[in-house]
Symmetry: C2
Amino acid sequence: MSEARIGISEEALAAVRFDARGLVPAIAQDAASGEVLMLAWMDRAALLRTLETGRACYYSRSRQSAWMKGERSGHLQIVREMHLDCDGDALLLKVDQLGGIACHTGRRSCFYQRLEGAGWVTRFAPIKSEEEIYRER
Amino acid sequence: MSEARIGISEEALAAVRFDARGLVPAIAQDAASGEVLMLAWMDRAALLRTLETGRACYYSRSRQSAWMKGERSGHLQIVREMHLDCDGDALLLKVDQLGGIACHTGRRSCFYQRLEGAGWVTRFAPIKSEEEIYRER
């Protein structure tokens, strides 16, 4: 998938099985390193906006609205590939993560806690602070 | 995380935020190649069984019960690492995929459909047929 605007057929869109809330989970994976960056949700509108813009758009369950990832922080995700699983109920996006920061905490990935022994251990420090990320825009 | 039985503290367990259905999405990623293999769901029991056995266990929403991945096919997932995201509502497992087949269709990953132009294109052929997988056990 190039950066250019693309279309999707009605048939291909129908293959995506949104759940009872109208949502499908979407995994964002760094296209270059293979690191899993985050898991978020898309409704139909967010999926279509993702395809139209080539930038990952998700649905915020807390804010109950679609948003373009990075619209405030600048940490946009350029979508290079989109994959659908065997059941049609999960998406995998291979992305270029602008700024190298996917997480709102300023870390490169949201999955920064690793289970070691009995507890979660934070693996890497923020590249930027939350204040920095949201102040500079 | 080694293959050995491990414990998890109550505090660490409480950091995992199960949804209203008591489920949390879990991404399985090949520990060696970094390929995303599947997305499935865990309830508390499946998570605990995963930690006790070192094998990925999930919750089947269709069958409404926990199952060990590969219990019928032999395609077990040996869990090498477990990660939790910033919101505590998604898990990432790094696994060794026995048989090199994660998908019930016999493919190495469940994400075998890639969007190309307007439609989904199947990327790779099954390593084994479904008949083979489930007959031989």
